[in-house]
């Protein structure tokens, strides 16, 4: 059972004025907006000096760090590999794989640390240098914690080797930081014991080892009691140390850089075959003894203590609080979950701990213009809320380039996120229309299966044709294929273009039938009929008879239909008169052509074939 965490943390927004004004807040897609305001809506605001600043606030600013980016990128690969580890694997082979994954994560942290260290040294501005250095220590702490977790939880070292692992751990981390002092104590005595343990190919059983050690320990005690080394206080205190006497050890405190160094040293001398479950007795007391009531434990100390106590949830919780981004806890928890170490414990916020942390981490990645792609994969491996989270986030990615848009679309299509695909295509279609790229707009509306928009764009095409006498984007229109059926207007556009093609290829009879069918089938919008009829003129005026009598009747019918019901819009009188003039002339011409064609058609059809 977790306890209430006390009061929630207060975040102060710097620069926002004091008690005078209220604070306005709203959410952006990835950030928060804060400004001063007065909620009491009066017409005249009081003469309170108002603050014109709006603060844009974000969590997850670490995504913008250049060096950490490598951490995110490489760990992403390791994460994916881990998810794909065969679930069937059990026992030793599985464990060794998991240990390998853990070591991989650690090496990535170390690489990052190294790089940041270089940058810190090379930094020209001391403030920058300090900042990088502090980042290095944070990364170092992360690796320290992870390493310990690896030993205790993943490797699950049994009684004997446990201490050896811990020795390595201490040597690796402590001796790095405090090279000289730690070396003195750290290396001096274990060398004696190394040979004692006789590491690789150790054929002795734990009990045998323990017996031997007991024997040796008793011998040392006898020496002490016999005051064999009474003449040399140094040797005596050395003997005491080797017996694991805490007081003696603490006398050498300045050589021990921290309490866990003290812990391991103490264990080495007093209980080298310590079992994992007994660790926590020693851990707490080591911490207390080392601090000696002079200082209080720091966050790192608490985390390590929790680890020694095998309280995984506490470790994760403390790390979440102490660290500035979710990277560490998300990946570590995921790994521990794969080790089947997290019980279905305390399902907070609707999903389990692993998923919750991964979701938070992935959401943070979406704040970044290119790291978001990594986030996609993390969402994929969150079975409960991953998909819906991805849907919500992916729509908000700014589509500044065609490339990016296509990338986003591909991701959505791969996951059958049809709603998102549609929405994104619509947005791109609209953008294209506003930039007058009609062809692009049309292909996006087709991809979005947006009939209404396709109609709109088709209308624009047709209007353009009327104004300029030619089509743009012919390739696209010619190759519409079945997409033509998306909207009536689009179908008309496609067919109309086909008509032009046929005419160009001198397939007059086909062109004629098509033209007629466009009107009779009502696919052509009424407003376009005049243009179509005018297009028929050259066909009517050809030497050979193209339109049959039947067809000519149809055309006449269409013309009459059109002229009898001419709509009167709110045009000015003079305009209308002018239009009327032009219209009347056209109509007269058409009537004449149609009549002539009819005559010729009747004659031809009435006589024998051949002319």
């Amino acid at each position: 059972m977790e306890e209430l965490d006390g009061e929630p943390t207060v975040t102060l927004i710097p620069g926002v004025n004091s008690k005078k004004n209220q604070m306005y807040f709203d959410w952006g897609p990835g950030e928060m907006l804060v400004c001063e305001t007065s909620f009491n809506k009066k017409e005249k605001s009081e003469m309170v000096p108002s603050c014109p600043f709006i603060y844009i606030i974000r969590k997850d600013v670490d995504v913008y760090s250049q060096i950490l980016r490598k951490l995110f990128n490489e760990s992403h690969g390791i994460f994916l590999g881990l998810q794909r580890i065969d679930e069937e694997l059990t026992g030793k082979s599985r464990k060794s794989q998991l240990v390998r994954v853990s070591k991989n994560y650690r090496s990535v942290i170390r690489a990052c640390m190294e790089e940041m260290h270089q940058v810190a040294i090379a930094a020209k501005d001391p403030a920058n240098g300090r900042q990088f250095s502090s980042q290095v220590s944070i990364l170092s702490a992360m690796e320290l914690i992870w390493n310990l977790c690896e030993i205790l939880f993943i490797e699950v070292a049994p009684a004997g080797p446990l201490l050896l692992h811990l020795l390595d751990w201490v040597r690796l981390h402590v001796c790095e930081v405090d090279s000289l002092s730690a070396d003195v104590l750290g290396s001096e005595n274990p060398s004696k014991h190394d040979s004692f343990w006789n590491l690789p190919g150790n054929t002795q059983t734990l009990t045998e080892l323990e017996l031997k050690w007991q024997h040796w320990h008793e011998e040392c005690e006898r020496y002490l009691q016999d005051s064999t080394f009474a003449t040399s206080p140094h040797l005596e205190s050395l003997l005491k140390i080797m017996l694991g006497d805490e007081a003696a050890l603490l006398e050498q405190k300045e050589l021990l850089s921290n309490w866990y160094h003290f812990l391991v040293t103490r264990l080495l001398y007093s209980n080298p075959t310590v079992k994992p479950i007994d660790l926590h007795y020693y851990a707490q007391s080591s911490l207390d003894l080392f601090l000696g009531g002079e200082s209080s434990p720091e966050p790192l100390d608490n985390i390590l203590l929790a680890a020694f106590e095998f309280d995984i949830h506490q470790v994760i919780k403390e790390c979440s609080i102490a660290l500035s981004n979710w990277w560490f806890v998300a990946h570590l928890t995921d790994l521990l979950d794969h080790c089947k170490l997290l019980q279905s414990h305390n399902l907070y916020f609707g999903s389990n701990m692993r998923e919750f942390l991964l979701l938070e981490y992935a959401s943070g990645l979406f704040a970044h213009p290119s790291l978001w792609q990594l986030g996609v994969d993390y969402f994929d491996y969150c079975p409960e809320l991953g998909r819906v989270s991805l849907e919500l986030h992916i729509e908000r990615i700014p589509l500044n380039t065609e490339q990016k848009a296509l990338k986003v679309l591909r991701i959505c299509e791969q996951r059958q996120m049809t709603e998102q695909v549609r929405s994104i295509c619509k947005i791109l279609a609209m953008k294209a229309v506003r930039n007058n790229r009609l062809g692009s707009a049309l292909s996006w509306s087709i991809r979005a299966k947006d009939a209404a928009f396709a109609t709109l764009v088709s209308d624009r095409f047709l209007r353009d044709y009327c104004e300029r006498g030619c089509f743009s984007d012919l390739d696209l229109i010619d190759n519409l294929g079945p997409a033509m059926m998306l909207s009536d207007r689009l179908t008309f556009l496609g067919k109309y273009r086909e008509f032009h093609r046929m005419y160009g290829e001198k397939r007059f009879a086909d062109a004629a039938s098509l033209l007629l069918s466009l009107m009779t089938s009502r696919i052509a919008p009424r407003s376009f009929w005049m243009t179509l009829l005018t297009d028929a003129l050259p066909l009517l005026e050809q030497k050979q008879v193209i339109f049959s009598a039947e067809q000519t009747y149809e055309l006449m019918r269409c013309l009459e239909d059109l002229t009898s019901r001419r709509p009167v819009h709110g045009e000015s009188d003079t305009e209308q008169l002018q239009d009327d003039d032009i219209e009347t002339t056209k109509v007269e011409m058409l009537r004449l052509s149609l009549a002539r064609n009819l005559a010729r058609a009747i004659i031809r059809e009435g006589s024998l074939e051949g002319s």
């Binding site: 604070m23 950030e31 844009i56 919780k317 399902l347 929405s423």
Partner: protein
């Protein structure tokens, strides 16, 4: 850990009443008592003034961005009883439409989910709610709900689009039949839910009663794929209630008191991924709340104003499993 990544100097000459990021977080729209609406490009930590829109004759209370599939469109409402819709055309922002159908200050504007089309709901102090639907070629159709709230309507918020049944492709351009709903809060201390009937008329579907004073804001939570609907409402009485309805068809809403604050609560808003509610109160603080699995709402952070340059970490509060 939160950090201030950008400070935008809006140069507004009077109190700012609303600030909204656009869909992608690249542009910021602000409005103020100085009667102007301003738009800034805030990419990469910068601030470039794109537009300074004048047209209102009184303090402007709210701005709202439409979905980008309709282009770059912004709506604003003001004490001058007008709602103005601004549009970016060929790189410049202009007034595209003006709606002057209210007799009193228009307090709130909210765009409907893009799936419904381009529809704007407006709530006014004259007690009416008007719905503007874009029908094409610069034309807007107006539907008005008179006396939606006695004395006045303070806030409107749309329900997320939920498609009944499965979504089938409609190649001929027919839209699937969405049930359009929105919530409004008013000076009659009520939150009302409105539904569009088949004949296109809007009908009052539910009354949510819990407050003892004017309802200042309502916010319908974005959908996260679950069948539950959630609405947050806040009031002059200092209370914030969370209303949930477990099933689209059952229509029973149950309130849960989030918290009783010591002062008027003015504004509630949901984060985009629906899991955090921000509450802005007269106590000069903003608190962030999240629901734990056992249904309790937990305060996870206090965002306060103050001097100095401190940024503390935002932690997730955990609750006793009892």
């Amino acid at each position: 850990m939160v950090s201030v990544i950008n400070t935008v100097d809006t140069s507004h000459e009077d109190m700012i009443h609303d600030a909204q990021m656009d869909y992608y977080g690249t542009r910021l729209a602000t409005c103020s008592s100085d009667r102007s609406v301003k738009i800034f490009d805030v990419r990469n930590g910068g601030q470039i003034l794109i537009a300074d829109l004048r047209g209102h004759e009184g303090p402007v209370w709210q701005v709202a961005w439409a979905h980008p599939m309709y282009g770059n469109i912004l709506a604003s409402c003001s004490y001058d009883r007008k709602v103005i819709i601004w549009r970016e055309e060929n790189g410049t922002w202009e007034k595209s439409h003006e709606h002057a159908g209210h007799d009193s200050s228009v307090n709130s504007v909210c765009w409907a989910p893009h799936d419904y089309g381009l529809i704007l709901a407006c709530g006014s102090s004259d007690g009416a709610i008007s719905l503007l639907t874009y029908t094409g070629e610069g034309q807007w159709e107006v539907k008005k709900i008179n006396n939606a709230h006695t004395i006045g309507c303070n806030a409107v918020s749309w329900a997320p689009a939920v498609v009944p049944g499965s979504l089938i492709d409609h190649p001929s351009g027919q839209k699937p039949n969405y049930i359009k709903r929105f919530a409004s809060g008013g000076c009659d201390n009520l939150i009302k839910l409105w539904k569009e009937e088949e004949d296109g008329q809007w009908k009052e579907e539910q009354k949510l009663e819990a407050h003892s004073d004017w309802v200042r804001d309502v916010a319908w939570a974005p959908s996260i794929g679950l069948p539950t609907s959630t609405i947050a409402g806040c009031s002059q009485d200092g209370r914030v209630f969370i209303w949930t309805c477990d099933d689209a068809s059952s229509n029973t809403w149950s309130p849960k008191l989030l918290h009783k604050f010591n002062d008027v609560v003015w504004h509630v808003s949901w984060s985009i991924t629906a899991n955090i509610l921000a509450v802005s109160g007269g106590d000069n603080k903003v608190t962030l709340w999240k629901e734990s699995v056992d249904g309790q709402w937990v305060c996870i952070s206090d965002v306060n104003k103050g001097q100095g340059s401190v940024s503390a970490s935002v932690t997730e509060g955990q609750q006793n499993e009892q």
